[in-house]
Symmetry: D3
Subunit: 328 residues, 6 copies
């Protein structure tokens, strides 16, 4: 397990720790002397590293996507730290904690999963409860459900992001149904818990978050459509019309054709679920943009997902709005 | 006050009641005999009427947009009822209850206004509480705030629709802030209560809902921008940055340029408020579409506001989802 | 079986034949005398009918969507024929030939189906041949595959239109692969035969062509995605990657998001198949527009599917292009 | 006041002059020796500078956005000049002429302002003349009106650009009204003079042209809407309908929703003014693109504002069109 | 020549005059008695006409698009006038003044043509003067240039509309060049005079304004491109680069691809000409919308060309803006 | 003629060969020593070159776009080869084979041209055969027809690409007409052979593929419209309507306004030709994307023309689809 992370390396020091190899290259100095250049990373960022001497063995054994153990000196070059490697070897599997290398949710995934089971258990309609609970407790799915990110880039793009997003949506759905009693909570919870199940296979997230080839060819909407349809067919007596409703909730949740929904929402709960999913995703994107160092006093970093910067409200107002009340 | 409404007139009978004149025309029969043709209406719909004899005096006195008292026989022609007028005169102002002629909310506007005051009073920031309370209790505004519709066609298009929409948004905002504590409730309440104040003047709703000329030239966003900006300037010491934030909430609440917002939401609460406003409006439009008789078993009437029909879920499933639970 | 069709009724005469009831209404004359008004139709068009006397029994028994037998006099009113009904009763099922009431292909459906089996049998890859042949010979599917239209309005909108379109596409695919040998014919034939299988359930076409509720909620792409995925899973050993390829061919065949494809074609054959399907559909729409009487010398009727009129080339050139060669 | 500008530095020499600091950084040579690296600029461009020795004091005092006095040697490195600094200190306010550091109009701003007053004075309608003259002669506004640029990038992006653009528009409006006497010149002049008043606060242009935070949140249209509305309210008796007309001219002048106009022009003069404003801006952008060195014989530099290159007409024709007349 | 026009027929009277036949139909009364129904028209509008007796000969001779002479009684039916025909015969060619049947410019076409020649003669560049003058004085072109409308619907949609639009543009171009001396007046005049020459053949305007088949297949841009290119090739020594410039002015004048310009303006004068042409056309459309009776006090009729209504400014302000000056 | 190409230079060696100069620059080392830096290229790619000594003469004689002969040592720097020049001089014209410097079709252009003549000769309509044959055999055109690329970037972007594309289209048209006998082959062949004739002048392709200034101002559609219209006018008696049809085929072949077609296809063959042209171009773009080394196992390089990557089908399936048949 790592104790030193890239984001900690601000000053000259000697470190011994583990990294993932992002790039590897043999280069020559101007004088023609070869050296090994690596880009190393962990969940907090990446750093350049150079090994000047006796790198031949390491260079042969180590490749892109390997985990390595290094002993190195941190040097500040052009105001940025880089590593001068003294020792380098492949890490052993038991030395590596995957969570050190991929960003992950700050929440406790075990608790999130317990909450998820709670929401599934609270569904009143027995067919839907049966369906939803069956899927999220299936061993092949449960483990990945706890680990998957919700997206590659747009929002909740870290391990555990998917379950964090889903549990958040369940809670939001409860609040909103409390306000609009005409809405059916069972359908909203079913949609929340199943709407991104296809992402378990659309994305791969072993060492970095990326799309699988199958994911690119089909997309998570089709993948979960197939998974959920099969699960329904395995439940004897599941009403056919209710199956169609669940399928519609899944395929319409992106809300518009250009975002890959082959049908627009035509059921009240489908339309509402699209709003909730969109709101939770966009709000997560704003949160992420406001967290990153932007280099500006009053504006967040630019959010590609949202196509704009967001105001740092407290900086702009100089004080929290709520506090004005006390001050008076 | 009226006791008989257009929507009640399904069979032959004689009635005495009040209507608003929508159209007036002198026509000739094929044989060249002139008669008076009117289109009459109340809040429940419109009906054709003909007066065959001694209509000259009435025809001279009565014009479009007048309220009239009629005695008439209901006749069924081409499967539709129409009126054969026996007596017709201008109604006296004291005979007319405006609410009989314009559709209005089923909720108690007095209670809604009390709730509105409650929400305004719950704002913690003194500047915002002061601003919001001041505006909605201003005599010139309060009366119209209770009467205005929220729109001409799209949603809450009836008297009292505006306050119903606003109070609904305040409640929704509270639920959503309970879920996302990072959000500032004061700003969301301020946005909810002030975001459509311009509609008091953009629309006229004396006898029918329509746009004023000024409303067409400026739009409610600009009109409330001016009203609220002035109200802020009248509060000594109101922080300039907070004024800018309130202004931004107002002008960005349509969320996109093509819907008349000159700026996209660039503050977290502005973005969230846009979602809540949009959700509440769209849900009201679905509700309206599902209420109208559509002539189809499983589909609602076509909603122009939403560009589609919506599924009648209970009809399609044959039973309520929740009831399946009991049945099992 | 019918011998007289709506399109034949140009002059005064007395007829005895069968129709489908499209509309039914009791109306009153100006003088208050009730009469029965029907809109009757067959595959060639619709006609208004009136029954002035002794219609009470018929009016009670007969409803919209019923088939009826009539004896009537054809009268020309406002330059258009209409029927004065003398006798009217419900038709017996054995009196009705469905094909008389819905437009249908002019081709021999039995021959088309034989061609279809031939194309399926010509697929070299055993997994695909097995899949495709299995689906089109399944009893529940085969019968409807021969009867279904290809669309409600856009193209091949008549009984047997689907199989005509599919067999046409298979032939076109063979020609195009002959020109581009880099393309895989097996994939194109598989796509051609399966790409609209979902339309068997998306549309209903018993008495008129319309969408089913399930069809509106899911769309034929999702429906055939489920049907074909299940059929693949039922074939032991079907390669997983090949399944993904078939699924991608189905979901991408509309070519663009706004036409309901959740993925753009990302396989060469998927892109080519989209072009062929689009070309065959559009060409059928042009053919239909040129067939209808347009009322203009040099231009076809307006095609809603194509958003324009098409030139009547022979009329414009006054002679066929080919014939100029002989004339010289 | 500066005598040497960045664009003059083509050859080795020693200079003493003033610059604005755009970037500041301490770097190390490969050998680990620190040095000071600056990016310095004036209105004509930017240049890299390095200080190798005794830079500690200067590095502590000098920061980004400071004006500095330097003594330096110009060296040509990779075909581009850069500065080797010998002395460096903060400049004193009285040493700096802001116009040396921001590009500015080549016209005489005093004369432009006199013309502006002339146009305002020529307005016949007393309410409008009063309004317009009052605004541009208000001390807080007048000074900035003479200095503001018309935009950050798109057109007239230099000090004095706003007044140059406005005076140009006034002249153009006069010409166009001479051609279309149905148009009201008073309204066009009012629109021309007030339509960008919000830019005085939307942009900041002290040392470089940029958006203020308030400008980004509100935009110049809203800002001038508020400024002008207040100024109107301060004129006793100003007709309400005329106020609405002026407000409409301001908010519709971008002509389309996607360019931030919350209303489309619905008054004849509003539509015409949009055309004139757009034409003058685009023509200025073409002029700017043709002025920049593009590296191509027959084509201008690429104009981001216009999304294309423009033909260098004289180069393409080899002679001026007019001159052909003389040559003949 | 006509003395009575459709727009004059507001009261019962007997008239003798000429009309163009727009529609012709034999109908039956309810009682089965046939009568002749015509739609007749002139440049001021259309009116329904019925002939009850002895119409057989007339009905055989007269067809759609014929000019007829009628004697008829005007009757008011459903508040609208219609004609009861007493006599009806084909008009003789010499009885007909085409201008009575197509709307035409109120200006004097002879004077407009003289102005046009003046503008052409004022072109300094001899090649362009030669080209432009040659085209507009060619006998086959000159006659139609004076008669053609500028469009079917959008603007200047009346006989003489084209030359009115072109002469207007020449004048506008002079004014604008006076303001922007960097522009080449020769090019703008050339563009103005030639940019719609293709409309002479794109439209037909013998009895009504419509598109020719060739016009629909090619469009006026391609048609004038061919005409002008040929005219240039017939001028010995015309510089090739100048030819390309003229061609570019023609093909880019719609300014955007979606309006049928295959190239965007890439020459300064081409861009300016597009603005002037667009402005003059749009302003003519506003003028037309404001002229039509709209049925509303403060708003014009809806303009399909502009997609909106326009404010009746004087009505809204109650007085002319200019007059306020005198009033003070 | 060259024997060594850029793409062959993977290891240290000494070479003597010819290149085209893409860039030329004098630079200084950190120590201030000047050297000559060139970017050299041939049809297979580009490479950096440096000359350290005695480069003054060469630097004076050699410029961008010159062909040069070099003797150089290949060195590997940062994993990429670069050239250390020992000798450098201008190449003599007779030493240069243009095809070594521009990519060119792998097909035999002579054979392609013979096929083209065959297709032209097979046109049955004598007017069209005469027209088409006349154009492609005109000496000024024939030579360039064999050499021109079909595009700068999108598809067939190499010498001989145009004729390869056209001959391919002719073959495809024959196949498609065999399937749809309603189509006129003569028109499709005429369209195929003439639809890109304008590219002979729109592009220049002497040393690199680029647009001419005239090509940018007019585009190939307008250029071939003029060329073909003239050629038709030179054929006595060519029917006018047929001319219009040919012109329409040319101007509509891009199928949509935004791709520069001033008219949409309104003739059946015009619509079909647009599909064939589009299909052949897109398929060529897929082919090109699959040929380039993409650095990914299962995906092609990104195709800018298509806006996506394409699946490497054989890699994904691990075997060819056809081979599965044999394996069973």
């Amino acid at each position: 397990m790592k104790t030193v992370f890239v984001s900690d390396l601000g000053s000259e020091q000697t470190i011994t720790t583990f990294f993932l190899v992002h790039e590897k290259e043999i280069r020559n100095t101007r004088e023609g002397k070869p050296y090994l250049r690596l880009e190393l990373g962990d969940r907090s960022g990446t750093i350049e590293a150079r090994m000047w001497d006796q790198f031949e063995t390491a260079a042969r054994d180590v490749n892109r996507d390997d985990f390595v153990k290094v002993q190195a000196r941190v040097e500040i070059y052009r105001n940025k730290p880089q590593l001068s490697l003294q020792q380098l070897r492949l890490a052993k599997p038991e030395e590596i904690e995957l969570a050190d290398f991929l960003p992950h949710t700050k929440e406790d995934v075990g608790k999130l999963y317990a909450q998820l089971l709670g929401y599934a258990g609270s569904i009143a309609n027995p067919w839907l409860k049966n369906l939803v609970t069956g899927i999220i407790t299936e061993p092949g799915i449960a483990a990945r459900y706890k680990r998957a990110p919700a997206a590659k880039v747009m929002h909740h793009a870290y391990l555990g992001g998917l379950i964090e997003h889903v549990v958040g949506l369940c809670g939001l759905a409860k609040q909103v149904v409390a306000h609009y009693p005409e809405l059916d909570l069972d359908l909203l919870l079913t949609a929340a818990i199943l709407h991104d199940v296809g992402k378990l296979d659309e994305l791969c997230y072993d060492r970095a978050i990326a799309y699988t080839t199958e994911g690119q060819l089909l997309g998570h909407i089709m993948m979960e459509f197939e998974t959920v349809s099969k699960a329904i067919d395995a439940i004897e007596g599941f009403p056919h019309a209710l199956k169609t409703v669940v399928q519609h909730l899944l395929i319409s949740h992106h809300g518009q054709y250009e975002f890959g929904s082959p049908k627009l929402p035509m059921i009240r709960e489908a339309m509402v679920f699209h709003y909730l999913d969109d709101l939770d995703s966009k709000l997560a994107a704003v949160r992420a943009a406001l967290t990153i160092e932007s280099g500006e006093d009053e504006w967040s970093a630019y959010s590609g997902a949202l196509g704009r910067r967001f105001l740092k409200l407290d900086e702009f107002l100089k004080e929290k709005i709520g506090e004005a009340a006390k001050a008076k």
